[in-house]
Amino acid sequence: MSSSAAVPFWRVAGMTYVTYSNICANLVRNSLKEPHRSEALAREKVHYSVSKWVEGKPEKTTIRSDPE
């Protein structure tokens, strides 16, 4: 049986809830007044290194520092 709940426009367009929620939060953070804006953006920074593995060996390691 299929659910009759209305599908949100972002899901129809192929976006997941997590992506939608993060976009909304980022838009709000970017609209803050100065000291709070930089604090909020700094708080959400992530810093990680990503490696793709092919046939049991790491191919390359990129370090990502996303402010988003």
Partner: protein
């Protein structure tokens, strides 16, 4: 984990000092709430295997649902959590108005249990004559029948921290993006932008 339950029950000692009150009083009549879910299972087990204690089922590890008081409490207990802080924790207030996707929802003590998804909007906490307003980017609200309300949001700021010039700029930018968007995804992103900035705008003016 329950495969080994029978062996463990036979070989381990009876509940020791480290066992929790619930575990040591598992079959006590006082914990009616924890037992009722397992009664049919326990009876069926005892008929087949009377010598071995029945294994615990997942429902026995769960805390019983909090009782709903028979008279409506005078105050609502609000928990408002963000990923990086507890904005309000166990605060007793008169009313909260949450920006649900279905519209502004007022929550009073004794509200029926509800789970509501939040959209970008203003959350106001009313306590006597004090009203504290936050702009919430999104999240969920769990209203429990025992007059406890949990609100979780990804980002929430007091209204006075919002910069109106940035809001106007953002609104104009995303309205323009919406008209020039080509793919569905871009249209969705632009629409989200327009929704959030319109909500920010009305929060500033409202």
């Amino acid at each position: 984990m329950l495969r080994h339950a029978a062996t463990l029950l036979l070989t381990r000692r009876r509940p020791t000092l480290t066992a929790s009150l619930t575990k040591s009083r598992y079959f006590s009549a006082d914990l009616a709430a924890t037992e009722t879910a397992d009664e049919t299972f326990v009876e069926a087990w005892r008929k087949v295997v009377p010598n071995i204690d029945p294994p615990k089922t997942p429902s026995s590890f769960m805390k019983p649902r909090p009782a709903v008081p028979s008279t409506i409490p005078g105050k609502l207990t609000v928990n408002f959590y963000l990923p990086y802080t507890s904005e309000l924790s166990g605060k007793e207030v008169d009313m909260v108005i949450v920006p649900a996707t279905t519209g502004q929802m007022g929550v009073l003590p004794g509200h029926v249990g509800t789970i509501a998804e939040l959209k970008s909007g203003v959350l106001s906490v009313h306590n006597g004559n004090d009203v504290t307003k936050y702009f919430v980017s999104g999240g969920f609200t769990f209203i429990h029948p025992n007059s406890v309300t949990d609100i979780i949001a990804v980002e929430a700021v007091p209204i006075d921290r919002i910069d109106s010039s940035l809001v106007q700029k953002g609104l104009a930018e995303f309205t323009q993006k919406l008209s020039s968007a080509s793919t569905d995804y871009e249209k969705a992103e632009a629409q989200i932008g327009v929704d959030v900035y319109s909500a920010l705008n009305s929060a500033l003016t409202g």
